[in-house]
């Protein structure tokens, strides 16, 4: 086993990424941080200071670095889907207030690539840092939350609602929520395929409910739109059932699954609850072709639901006579401007007050 090939590949990646301008200081610092770790490992390798038993661990760290680099590459100011990421960062803060987390997105060429990368997780991150400490190598300060989305849809605010669902998976993994629920109900979990399927479904329901807290049923609208067949699989419940659970949740109906999650969450000081402020879409500014003037975070998240309501409304006269493609572009533009203006005004008011 040798590190040579991997080291050269990473060097190549750093060489092309070094001119990146990231969307914020944290990403820039992380880039420099992992470069320092990489450089030290490269020197150790060159000088023959890495013993054979240590090689696999160093290889894992290098693979960790190259994965982070790929996500950072999609986090430059020019390509990051800034508006949706800003919304997700706000939602994330409700659940984990950790300045060392960076929400990063990878723009995939695959149209279906909406996913959260669960590994390497926090445990792995800590393990790497412990190892680096024993070798007197600088620690990695920031941990990336890795979410992938299709490049084609990065400015499609009707579709990027799926990212709230993906963030829900991260929160679930971080706190072991679905796992804890399963262990409460089935202490011997996971022994059978049926229970594994139940666990997978539980994870999907949590992510759905997580998203619904912020964007109402907007994520369901997208789910329904993408659905080809309403079937159950090992990984996902039937779409209609997912939609049903979310509908009951946003109507504040008593749901066993929500109670189960909340029982676990209460012990963590968290709760699944409605976190959006509903606005009547019929009176939306979008029908007058102007952005929404958003006043608070709760209204901000709800903008995606408003977008979906208007997209599906085919009777309101405002968009009648406008080609559908133009309506699609206009809606995405209006959502983007509503969000960007909200964050701009918030920052501006903080600086000038």
């Amino acid at each position: 086993m040798s590190l040579n090939l991997l080291i050269n590949q990473i060097e190549e990646q750093f060489s092309s990424s070094r001119s990146n301008v990231y969307s914020d200081k944290k990403r820039e610092k992380h880039f420099l941080n992992i470069y320092e770790v990489f450089s030290t490992i490269k020197e150790l390798s060159k000088s023959g200071s890495i013993s054979i038993p240590e090689l696999p661990t160093f290889k894992q760290i290098l693979q960790y670095i190259i994965s982070d680099l790929q996500y950072l590459d999609s986090s430059t100011l020019n390509v990051i889907p800034f508006e949706i990421v800003s919304c997700l960062e706000l939602a994330l803060k409700d659940w984990i207030d950790d300045d060392n987390l960076i929400l990063s997105t990878h723009l995939s060429n695959d149209y279906n690539d909406f996913y959260f990368l669960p590994n390497p997780n926090r445990e792995y991150f800590n393990k790497i840092n412990s190892f680096l400490s024993t070798k007197s190598i600088i620690k990695i300060s920031y941990r990336l939350i890795k979410i992938s989305l299709p490049k084609l849809l990065c400015r499609d605010y009707l579709s990027t609602v799926a990212l709230y669902h993906e963030l829900g998976h991260f929160i679930d993994f971080e706190y072991n929520i679905s796992n804890r629920v399963m262990l409460k109900k089935h202490p011997s979990f996971p022994p059978t395929p049926a229970l594994v399927q139940k666990f997978n479904h539980l994870q999907e329901y949590f992510a759905d409910l997580f998203a619904a807290q912020y964007i109402s049923d907007a994520s369901n609208q997208y789910l329904e739109d993408r659905m080809i067949a309403d079937i159950v699989s090992d990984s996902h419940p039937k779409t209609s059932e997912r939609i049903g659970v979310v509908a009951k949740f946003i109507n504040n109906e008593n749901l066993e699954i929500v109670n189960d999650f909340n029982e676990v969450l209460t012990s963590l000081g968290k709760q699944l609850k409605i976190r959006f402020e509903e606005k009547d879409s019929n009176t939306s500014n979008f029908y007058n072709f102007i952005p929404e003037v958003i006043e608070n975070d709760e209204q901000l998240h709800y903008i995606y639901k408003t977008g979906w309501s208007i997209w599906k409304n085919t009777v309101n006269p405002s968009f009648l006579g406008i080609p559908e493609r133009q309506k699609y572009q206009m809606l995405n533009n209006l959502i983007e401007k509503s969000i960007s203006s909200y964050f701009l005004l918030k920052n501006w008011n903080n600086i000038t007050k």
Binding site: Q326, M330, L344
Partner: protein, 201 residues
């Protein structure tokens, strides 16, 4: 309201009555006596030399190179800087989203601090227009000029016209509700098919 250039109180009155939409306004003082200061937005298109020897505005065939392939997209955060290189056409959007009343058009000019640097723009905005305004700027000097995104860069005069029958959406509007600069859509002109066929039949 009489026709002609609108002054401060009239502009404010149109905003209050929601006939004129201007958002976000970072500072109330942007509304001056006879004009409104508009800011440079966050998105840019810089023209570059492409593979083709010229920009084709005469055809919109799927096999022909698009006009936008001659532009590089870039984004800056408000407060970040960008460079205007000599004679490189640059498109940007205003930070403010505007919706004009049906009977008011807008004339844009540079604030004098910037026109004195050798910059030029040329834009008129149709009555009823809605969106951030795409502005073409050219640095006619021979030294690159650094500009800060978010700076007050333009002044817009609003002019009320006599007609009440104007309807911006009576035609298909290619640039409505734009929030990022859009390259020219000259090759989407519906008359092109007639012009191109004039000598083939």
């Amino acid at each position: 309201m009489p026709k002609g250039t609108l002054f401060k109180e009239q502009i404010k009155s149109l905003i209050d009555s929601k006939e004129l939409f201007l958002y976000p306004i970072l500072d109330e003082n942007q509304i001056g006596d006879i004009s409104i200061d508009l800011r440079v937005g966050t998105d840019f298109l810089f023209q570059h030399q492409g593979r083709s020897a010229h920009i084709n505005t005469s055809s919109n065939e799927v096999s022909s190179r698009s006009i936008k392939s001659n532009f590089t997209q870039a984004r800056r955060k408000v407060g970040e800087k960008f460079l205007l290189h000599p004679f490189q056409p640059t498109l940007f959007s205003t930070l403010e989203y505007i919706k004009l009343p049906k009977d008011v058009y807008a004339v844009l000019s540079l604030r004098s601090s910037y026109s004195r640097l050798g910059l030029t723009i040329s834009t008129i905005v149709q009555p009823g227009y809605c969106g951030c305004i795409s502005v073409e700027v050219i640095n006619c000097g021979n030294i690159p000029i650094e500009i800060v995104s978010g700076v007050r860069f333009l002044q817009v005069r609003l002019i009320k016209v006599d007609s009440v029958d104007l309807d911006y959406f009576s035609n298909i509007r290619k640039y409505a509700c734009q929030v990022r600069p859009i390259p020219s859509k000259a090759n989407e002109d519906i008359e092109l098919k007639f012009l191109n066929n004039l000598h083939t039949t």
